[in-house]
Symmetry: C2
Subunit: 180 residues, 2 copies
């Protein structure tokens, strides 16, 4: 929620700019228009000897739950660079290149989640600053009831399904709001 | 470039917040941290009886050049909804559903471009507010030398190549900065 202008510090108000069709936060003093857009979350499905790397979250939301390494994409990087960086930061693990695997729309929180899949460069991993622990899981041992986010469940289900069929696709899903 | 705090209107300065690793615009008065992230551009490769819908731009940048209908994704919509909306707004055309076709990283301008492909619901199209004209082009007639953006060229080349082979993939490309 923008209350003051980023360019001059004066109050903004909702106005539809000329040629636009939605109200934006427009500065009452200098007229600067502030656009707010969805953010990209980038993550990795990283495999080592058939097992998948998960991180147990050390931060809210969903502290203590298991997730794929993922986080906000930064300016001046590519989607793949963001996915690999998040895997280094959260799991101290390096992934060989990577292929696009999933796009999850989460419109009720203005996010788009993209996941790449790839192989770890070696078996090494350990908890980064935002993780309590990291671990490699066989499919049979995935903590399905302790996963942090629905997009993580979606990715893992599709990944194991594709792996059994011997062919990886690019998957899409729109996450509806949680009930309540 | 953020100069003043969106929450209290006081000046910001670059600081690395605790637990972070990059400088952010942090408010000198209330401490609010402003994150700036890449933006998503969504577009459509819309086909009708084998021809592709292009729009001639009525606005800068690249006024007068031909483009696929595309624009900034808005909050509270999905990537597909954004692609279909842009096609309605710029070309007054309706597309049946759509499949993900291309992801183009443009890190030097902090953008990610996503393109869906789909069929027009009928042959109708006309110039929206941001277009001078719209037209359906056979592959042989695409105005290759008058295209507005490199990501449009990339999409069209891959689209026609896939169509010839009878199978559409999901394509990726990282756009380097233009020379100079």
């Amino acid at each position: 929620m923008i209350r003051y202008c980023t360019q001059c510090g004066q109050p903004v108000e909702p106005r539809i700019p000329p040629g636009d069709h939605l109200p934006r936060s427009v500065c009452t003093a200098c007229g600067h228009v502030h656009y707010e857009n969805p953010r990209l979350i980038l993550g990795c499905i990283a495999e080592w000897e058939g097992r998948i790397l998960l991180c147990r979250r050390a931060i809210e939301p969903r502290l203590g739950y298991w997730t794929l390494p993922a986080g906000f994409m930064e300016n001046e990087e590519t989607t793949l660079q963001a996915a690999l960086r998040e895997t280094r930061e959260e799991a101290c693990a390096n992934v060989h290149s990577g292929s696009l695997f999933a796009l999850v729309d989460v419109p009720h929180i203005n996010q788009v989640h993209l996941f790449y899949r790839g192989q770890l460069q070696d078996g090494r991993h350990s908890a980064g600053q935002e993780s309590l622990e990291t671990s490699l899981f066989d499919e049979a041992d995935i903590p399905w009831n302790s996963l942090a986010f629905r997009s993580v469940r979606f990715c893992l289900e599709r990944y194991f399904s594709d792996r059994r069929q011997g062919h990886f696709g690019v998957h899409q899903f729109v996450l509806p709001p949680l009930p309540g």
